[in-house]
């Protein structure tokens, strides 16, 4: 709690980022109060430009862009959040096991991790999504993204655990009779939390980007509104050619805002957690108010030999 308060007070990028994320959150909450259901069409006049009745205009399908956007943001965040959750869980599990247990298991797991690192992810995603065309749901997409995005973080966690394993407190804990699970979860896991935090944000941004990419290509569930599918349908009805830019502007602006918001929060968090910048933050800038007085040595009145006599 104090962390968040400090960040608010001292980090401008966190303030801006938090404000942007709050706006995104408002959009998500608004989606629950939408007068139209997400898949409903022809509920409003088609192709209306932004006006007082339709703040962001309407689409060629007769949907209100503003309300559609609230659903789109929600779905995109759900996909990205699930992907991060799945990916980081696998990463922590694999990293901890291969780091702590070591030996043959470590070698096997490490080679699997290396395999996942060298796989080019975007072409593979496009391929899988193409095969699953028409059956892709929001959940399946999240799962797919999660499964492809754990190898790099897991290598980082493994490196951490490898060094923690040799520390004195681990030996003491093992000597005291703690079992492996307890040592790893209670003694080592707290060390990973800052890494996990930074990784979660970067993974989130990657997942948002991938969702938008696949949807724009028409490879995700096109009936569920998301930022990517909004752009897809806008293109489909030739929003640019017919000069109905508001249909495309809303989702593009939303994706930019989400990415910038998370990025700002992420860099301010990283800077806050970095011990080097933390030290310089603690330092008081400027001159001390009162000059430090040099202590004046009192003249010795008696020679030192006088004490012993």
């Amino acid at each position: 709690m104090t962390t968040i308060r400090d960040l608010f007070r001292f980090s401008p990028s966190f303030r801006v980022g938090a404000a942007i994320l709050a706006l995104v959150l408002v959009l998500v909450i608004l989606s629950f109060f939408s007068p139209y259901r997400p898949e409903a069409r022809r509920v409003v006049p088609r192709n209306e430009p932004p006006s007082q009745t339709y703040l962001m205009g309407t689409t060629a399908n007769g949907q209100d862009v503003l309300w559609l956007l609230t659903f789109a943001v929600r779905n995109t965040l759900i996909v990205a959040g699930l992907a991060v959750l799945i990916g980081r869980s696998i990463a922590v599990l694999v990293g901890m096991i291969s780091g702590y247990v070591g030996g043959t298991l470590d070698r096997v797991l490490s080679s699997i991790v290396d395999t996942f690192i060298v796989i080019p992810r975007l072409p593979l995603l496009i391929l899988i999504a193409f095969i699953m065309r028409g059956q892709m749901t929001v959940l399946a997409l999240a799962l797919l993204l999660g499964i492809l995005d754990w190898a790099h973080p897991s290598k980082r966690y493994r490196a951490q655990i490898l060094s923690l394993r040799e520390r004195e407190f681990t030996h003491t804990a093992v000597f005291a009779g703690m079992n492996t699970f307890k040592v790893v979860m209670q003694e080592h896991f707290p060390f990973l939390i800052p890494f996990l935090l930074a990784d979660a944000v970067s993974g989130f941004l990657w997942a948002v980007g991938m969702e938008v990419t696949l949807s724009v290509l028409g490879l995700s569930d096109l009936n569920a509104p998301s930022i990517g599918t909004m752009i897809y349908w806008g293109n489909y009805y030739q929003a640019l050619l017919t000069n109905r830019t508001w249909v495309l502007a809303a989702p593009i602006a939303a994706s930019v805002v989400i990415v910038v918001g998370f990025y700002l929060v992420s860099i301010s968090l990283t800077r806050y957690l970095d011990p080097r910048t933390r030290l310089s933050r603690l330092q008081v800038k400027g001159k001390p108010r009162e000059p430090i007085q040099e202590p004046v040595a009192e003249p010795v009145k008696e020679p030192l030999q006088g004490i012993s006599s």
């Binding site: 520390r167 407190f169 003491t172 804990a173 000597f175 005291a176 009779g177 703690m178 707290p190």
Partner: protein, 334 residues
């Protein structure tokens, strides 16, 4: 006088083999000792003489390349005899920290830097007792209050504590479950003398309250003089002398012990302290015969070839030295 821990003819060597070159370091060579219930048993010796190795074997916590070649270690708790070197991993887990505890060397790295002291205590307690977080916190608070440590350390992180406080917290952590046998490895090293005194008093208090047995390992004879009931002197992996603290300090028999005691500074004497000539031997190729003979001023021919056995010259006072043995036998026969 009940014996709580006993080592018999213990031999533990570091055996390594790299690229066909085999090396054997005899860090603990034929050591027998008995630790009595309720006493403070001090183990002294210079750096590299095998103190920490002996401790590892006494705890049964040795790992390759350290190998126990011969001998046995037994604990005795209320007529229950435990063969330390034959314990399974599960049995080891059960007795460690609960009955036999260990205060590690260098408390700087013993506490987990990202856990509050309270949580560290909770982790260690729940390994052996099924208690809730609130109970363990209460237990810890009461224990720290009894030991006179400030309660506010509970919510602190290790880096917020001073070195002395950290060492005291580590000692409290090692003794929270009232173990019967406590091994302390250099508990006062790297602390200044004022803090050392506090740590020594804390150890004494814990030991006297429950009548636990404390095995104290340090090279600091001053600490031994303050704390220990009996002292064993190690030299180059061998036990050279063992006796009451008073006997060892006032009437040392082995030439090495004599040098060790002579090198201590005294307040009332203004002469230069004598140090032992030479350096301690490398343990992979120890000298033949008595391992101290290259540095010993009293060495006779026998010392160069025959390894002296440790012999009781008085009740409770054992020495491993040919010269002393001959003197004693001459005195008794002549």
């Amino acid at each position: 006088m009940t014996i709580i821990a006993e080592a018999k003819n213990l031999k533990a060597y570091y055996i390594t083999q790299a690229y066909g070159v085999e090396r054997t370091v005899k860090a603990v060579d034929n050591i027998s000792l008995q630790i009595r219930q309720g006493e403070v048993f001090g183990i002294a010796g210079e750096s590299g003489c095998g103190k920490s190795t002996l401790l590892k074997v006494l705890l049964g916590a040795h790992q390759p390349p350290l190998t126990v070649v011969d001998g046995s270690v037994h604990y005795r708790f209320d007529d229950e005899e435990i063969d330390v070197l034959a314990l399974t991993e599960k049995q080891q887990r059960e007795i460690r920290w609960d009955k036999v505890s260990y205060i590690p060397q260098g408390s700087m790295h013993v506490l987990n830097p990202v856990r509050r002291i309270r949580d560290s205590f909770h982790d260690f307690i729940t390994t052996h007792r099924p208690v809730s977080k609130r109970d363990s916190a209460e237990m810890t608070r009461r224990y720290l209050r009894d030991l006179g440590l400030p309660e506010k350390v509970l919510t602190a992180y290790p880096h917020q504590l001073s070195g002395g406080m950290r060492q005291r917290v580590t000692i409290a952590l090692a003794t929270i479950l009232w173990p019967k046998l406590i091994f302390a490895d250099e508990p006062t090293t790297a602390l200044d003398v004022v803090v050392q005194r506090g740590v020594i008093q804390l150890l004494k208090e814990i030991q006297q309250r429950e009548g636990s047995t404390l095995v104290l390992i340090t090279h600091d004879i001053g600490v031994h003089a303050n704390l220990a009931d009996r002292i064993a002197i190690l030299y180059a992996g061998k036990l050279v002398e063992e006796g009451d603290t008073r006997t060892i300090l006032k009437n040392p028999q082995h030439p090495y012990t004599q040098y060790l005691i002579k090198s201590l500074p005294r307040l009332d004497e203004r002469s230069e302290r004598v140090s032992i000539p030479g350096r301690p031997p490398a343990l992979d190729h120890p000298p033949t015969g008595c391992r101290f003979h290259p540095r010993c001023p009293l060495a006779i021919d026998k010392c160069r070839t025959i390894d002296p056995e440790i012999i009781g010259i008085q009740p409770g006072h054992r020495v491993a030295c040919h010269v002393v043995t001959e003197e004693v036998s001459r005195a008794t026969t002549g």
